[in-house]
């Protein structure tokens, strides 16, 4: 089968997976809502189109909400490309956000420098955390999946400890830090929306990660190891070092996402638990088939659905948690290699037959 046809088939398969997910959503809405029509309208149309007009504010908010998902999606892309099932993105996001907020509150700096320094320190924090599961994997062959999952909880409790015991602003009802210095905050691109200057940074990060993965030696090594670790080892690649680096990059990207989210959307640090972006990043990376360039589009899709589910819970009383079911269905079908394999098989056979016919025709033409 030709490459072009293969791509077309992949796209069609992806669309069918998404259609199935939306169909499941429809079923759930019909089962749980008194007014399915308005619930559906909230899910699909209202995020962009409200009372007869294009809702620019909502669209920009959706765009803004892709920011942390892009970062965690990129993180998962890098780590999964090296076949490292590191699920510590959650912890790295939370720690990165928390440390960035602390720098924003307690380390006064000049206007331009402060925000950059805060984000960078958050980024470094995320990267440092991932050294633990990465080194355990490389040096001791301990499953990075289990250790990173456990690490998420450890990081969460450590952050909560410092938040509650050392840095809480007791004058406020809810547990939160003192406000961050205005010099450390990431400004809004459009006032009144959730779209901050973090979004262009996320797009730049996407381009950089894409260049890194497809145009540098390190990126090539990461992808090679993901495809065949033993081959890479015996052809002289430094497998251990690259595995550590891929996870540290993943952690750094997650930490950066957390930092930008906290500095962009809040005035104080107030997360009381793991924020969930690590898991969303996983869905995003799977939708993007581990291709960094596709990550922003996948994030946009999830952010759109997320917003739709939110509106649906506000206006139609359908719980917003439906997004998790939709995500899971997409997840399962998108990652299913054998999904529609029979159709693909038929297509291959058909393509081959056509080719044979053409060859035969050409032969007959030659004979005449």
């Amino acid at each position: 089968m030709s490459d072009k046809r293969n791509i077309m088939f992949e796209i069609a398969r992806g669309l069918i997976a998404i259609t199935i997910a939306i169909a499941v959503a429809f079923l759930l809405i019909f089962a749980s809502s008194d007014d399915p029509a308005s619930a559906l309208q909230c899910l699909l149309i209202r995020p962009v189109w409200t009372s007869g007009a294009l809702n620019t504010k909502s669209i920009l908010t959706i765009l803004g909400r892709t920011t942390p998902m892009i970062f965690t999606g990129l993180a998962v892309c890098v780590m999964f490309s090296a076949n490292q099932f590191n699920l510590g993105g959650e912890g790295a996001v939370m720690a990165g956000g928390f440390v960035a907020a602390l720098v924003g509150i307690y380390v006064p700096m000049s206007a331009g420098l402060h925000v950059v320094a805060s984000v960078l320190i958050g980024t470094i924090t995320g990267g440092l955390i991932m050294i633990i599961p990465a080194v355990l994997k490389v040096k001791l062959k301990a499953s990075e999946m289990v250790s990173s999952l456990m690490l998420n909880y450890v990081v969460m409790y450590i952050v909560l400890h410092f938040l509650n015991m050392n840095f809480a602003d007791r004058s406020k009802g809810a547990t939160q830090t003192f406000p961050m210095e205005s010099t450390s905050l990431i400004g809004k691109m459009v006032t009144g929306t959730e779209l901050t200057w973090g979004f262009p940074v996320a797009i730049i990060a996407t381009i950089l990660v894409a260049i890194f993965m497809y145009r540098t030696r390190w990126g090539y090594t990461i992808r090679m190891i993901g495809i065949n670790e033993s081959f890479s080892k015996y052809s002289g690649m430094k497998v251990g070092a690259v595995l550590v680096i891929s996870q540290v990059i993943g952690g750094a990207l997650s930490g950066m996402g957390g930092a930008i989210e906290v500095l962009g959307r809040y005035e104080t640090f107030r997360w009381q638990g793991l924020p969930g972006y690590g898991w969303t990043g996983l869905t995003v990376a799977i939708l993007a088939k581990n291709n960094p360039i596709l990550v922003p589009f996948a994030a946009l899709f999830i952010a759109y659905l997320d917003r739709g589910c939110e509106l649906m819970s506000i206006y139609a009383g359908v719980p917003a948690e439906m997004i998790d079911i939709i995500q899971a269905v997409i997840f399962l079908f998108f990652a299913a290699e054998q999904f529609m394999a029979k159709t693909k098989h038929k297509m291959v056979v058909k393509g081959a037959k056509e080719e044979m016919k053409q060859i035969e025709l050409a032969k007959e033409g030659g004979d005449l």
Partner: protein
């Protein structure tokens, strides 16, 4: 300080707490053992426990019977595991991703399902009646022995089921033809295939058993431990069970000791929480930190064993 802790640990109520806390982890760890023995990694344990704990409590409520609830939890656990199996084995979704998808459903989908079926949001605390909770069993004779009776008697019936299942799973794995097939498939699926063992069928069975076992864990959580269902009910126990499986070297008895170890760490952390001078947050992270430590120790011991083995073969 040390003495106060020791005096807390050396009480019969502490021993009782360890068994109480170990039970759900043990169920899930056994589930992980069975799946892993067949060469499939069931990371969806967390989600299966969430889903089965919810449906267990719902069925118990609808029928006002804990037994129906437990059976429903087991059935639902098995069904959810079959979803993982169909996607992972038939449609070739990476099994880790299939498991994570189930965990996603377990996280938010359960809240949605609860609302859909009952209109409740977030927890079922208002539904609980005494008939819905699994009964406590007082073991005759043993309950009269001082200390031992206080530790081992008076647990939920499911706690005893969990520890009996350790033996049952061991017998199943090592003394039955099904167990032989499961181990053969996990050890070398090509070899098993070449002698006529259906690899897929065996893995389906292993995942189903794994789902049923974690379903029991879910039932214990909502119909005894927390006395109702809530969104944070499982709280990483499915993941801890994976670690227990790894630390227990993939064996049922090893997994039991690893689970008891986590039970001990958690019991200790809940005791320390109430004490002055201990941050409840840091203390709450102990079981998870201990898990990482356990993984490290296990990995080091394995590496040493491999090295020794190599040194021996080289000497020959």
């Amino acid at each position: 300080m040390f003495e106060t802790i020791m005096s807390m640990v050396l009480t019969s109520s502490f021993g009782f707490a360890i068994l109480r806390i170990t039970t759900p982890i043990l169920f899930a760890a056994l589930a992980a053992v069975v799946a892993e023995k067949a060469g499939v990694c069931n990371i969806g344990l967390e989600g299966i426990m969430m889903i089965s704990s919810l449906f267990g409590v719902l069925f118990a409520y609808w029928t006002n019977s804990w037994l129906v609830g437990v059976i429903a939890a087991v059935v639902v656990g098995t069904l959810v595991a079959m979803i993982i199996a169909i996607f992972a084995l038939k449609l070739k979704t990476d099994i880790i991703l299939a498991g994570i998808a189930i965990n996603l459903v377990g996280g938010g989908g359960t809240t949605f399902a609860l609302y859909m079926f009952t209109g409740l949001k977030g927890n079922t605390a208002g539904l609980t009646t005494p008939q819905m909770l699994t009964p406590r069993i007082n073991i005759p004779l043993i309950q009269d022995i001082p200390v031992i009776g206080e530790i081992f008697s008076g647990h939920s019936i499911l706690t005893y089921v969990a520890f009996i299942l350790v033996a049952v799973v061991w017998v199943m794995l090592y003394k039955t033809s099904l167990g032989l097939r499961i181990r053969a498939v996990g050890e070398n699926s090509h070899a098993a295939d070449s002698v006529g063992v259906s690899v897929l069928k065996t893995q389906y069975i292993a995942l189903a058993l794994s789902g049923a076992l974690s379903g029991l864990g879910g039932a214990y959580m909502s119909m005894y431990y927390s006395q109702s269902w809530n969104t944070g009910i499982v709280a990483g126990r499915g993941f801890i069970a994976l670690a227990a499986q790894a630390m227990g070297q993939g064996e049922p008895i090893g997994a039991m000791f690893a689970s008891l170890f986590f039970g001990f760490a958690t019991a200790l952390s809940t005791k320390l929480e109430g004490m002055q001078g201990f941050s409840s947050y840091l203390v709450a992270s102990i079981p998870y930190a201990v898990t990482i430590l356990g993984l490290v120790l296990y990995a080091i011991s394995t590496m040493k064993r491999v090295k020794k083995h190599r040194a021996k073969t080289e000497a020959k």
